[in-house]
């Protein structure tokens, strides 16, 4: 087995043998040119050099293998962490409504008992509880639907789309509500923007989501700017900027993660941006964010003008 080990060691660390060979060659040269004493000096030098470089190279190889193994473990544990976060997000979101349902059921049992013993149960209370249960069930349903929506394979259906028009349609929808809070919306559409081959209804969802977020980020009296432009290499880019609170640096990588939300529990399950990211990726595009706390945020969506992967669409 020692032989096999040595052969393996040779395969990983052939360099020392090369050095030994070179020194031996030098030794032979010296022997020929300057005589045996000089030639023989090369022997101890050869041994030292060989052993030293062999040790160093083997250590380097070992260190490299350890690093690769650690990298693999890191990726795996990151994946598990992401799954863990997703599951705990779901569990947490569903737990709250379930707890409320449990409480209401207890209360209803109480009311029913009172009614049974003739102590006069309160029908209004009973109905109230049922309504609350209904509300919580709806909340759970919304969560599971969003999750299914998120997991759904969203195969795009490609049509020729006028991006300026698409964005403007969504802006008009949001403008009605934004104006109530004295938020104005500025347009900066690139005239003659090339039409894009993309899935219009899905893109509408993304744009509307970004506009809703922009609106929510501003307290009052701010400004949302929508812009479109052409990018080199056959791309079109649309952006939604707001003068809102901005996204702190530590959150910036997480905002596209499912279930990440900065809203209080019960308000928004945080699946919006992760769905947007999924949609844009499926459309061979890219969605990026730039933000400064206290100043504002800009989301940019970049899309190829033509369809890339040769799908029939």
């Amino acid at each position: 087995m020692k032989i096999v080990e040595n052969l393996m060691a040779f395969r990983r660390a052939w360099f020392p043998y090369l050095i030994a060979l070179l020194i031996a060659g030098l030794g032979v040269l010296l022997w020929i040119k300057a005589g045996p004493e000089f030639g023989l000096i090369s022997l101890p030098v050869l041994c030292c050099a060989f052993l030293l470089t062999r040790k160093l190279v083997l250590q380097l190889v070992k260190a490299n293998e350890q690093k690769l193994s650690l990298d693999r473990q890191l990726i795996q544990s990151q994946k598990l962490a992401a799954i863990g976060e997703l599951s705990s997000g779901i569990a947490h979101e569903i737990n709250n409504p379930l707890a409320i349902i449990g409480q209401e059921v207890e209360w209803m049992k109480h009311q029913a008992k009172d009614a049974g013993t003739g102590a006069g149960g309160n029908l209004a209370e009973f109905l109230d509880s049922l309504m609350e249960i209904g509300k919580q069930v709806d909340r759970c349903r919304e969560i599971t639907h969003k999750l299914l929506d998120f997991a759904r394979k969203r195969e795009p259906l490609i049509q020729t789309t006028d991006i300026n028009k698409l964005v403007e349609d969504m802006v008009r929808l949001v403008e009605r509500e934004a104006v109530k809070r004295k938020i104005k919306i500025d347009r900066d559409y690139r005239p003659d923007l090339p039409v894009v081959q993309t899935d219009a209804p899905q893109l509408r969802q993304v744009v509307l989501n970004l506009l809703i977020n922009a609106n929510a980020a501003i307290d009052a009296g701010g400004c949302i700017t929508v812009a479109t432009r052409v990018v080199d290499g056959g791309y079109v880019e649309l952006s939604v900027s707001d003068t809102g609170c901005g996204i702190p640096e530590e959150n910036r990588d997480k905002i596209f993660d499912p279930f990440f939300t900065t809203k209080p529990p019960g308000k928004g399950t945080g699946l919006g941006l992760s769905i947007c990211h999924g949609i844009i990726t499926k459309l061979d595009g890219r969605i990026t964010v730039a933000s400064e706390v206290g100043k504002g945020t800009t989301f940019a969506v970049r899309l190829p003008v033509g369809r890339r992967k040769g799908t029939t669409g």
Binding site: K146, D149, I158, Q159, L173, R176, A200, P201, R204
Partner: protein, 132 residues
């Protein structure tokens, strides 16, 4: 337009009649109904390419009707229409698969263009399924 069938569902009868009339003038085979329940019943036997659906209706509202329509006729495209634009219902509608969301009063030519695009999407979708 050959076999281009559009269903309009809106409880506002004045608006409904106007739209159906204008659609028919453009050679679209248009039918108008005033409630979600009626529409769903009609869809049990009839097929349409595109539906124009009002969001705020008494009884079964637009969103609920949309859900049922997507179950019954998943390929049929739905354009949501409303006079009371609610961003929430817009988002909800589109997440449920509505093709577009239009605020009343809508420019009729723009609406026609959206109907045309919705129908095109239906054709593309059908073609894709046929091929797979």
């Amino acid at each position: 337009m050959e076999g281009f069938r559009v269903l309009v569902v809106d409880d506002e009868t004045d608006f409904l009649e106007t739209i159906v009339k204008r659609l028919r003038k453009r050679k679209v085979d248009a039918v108008g109904l005033t409630s979600g329940v009626e529409a769903l019943k009609y869809l049990e036997t009839e097929h349409f390419d595109v539906v124009i659906l009002d969001v705020r209706m008494p009884g079964l509202d637009g969103i609920e009707t949309l859900k049922e329509m997507k179950k019954k006729r998943p390929l049929m495209e739905v354009i949501m229409l409303t006079g009371h634009a609610s961003v929430e219902s817009g988002m909800q509608g589109m997440q449920l698969g509505a093709f577009d969301y239009v605020i009343k009063p809508a420019d009729f030519d723009e609406l026609m263009e959206k109907i045309r695009q919705a129908r095109e999407r239906k054709s593309i979708h059908e073609e894709k399924l046929r091929r797979s």
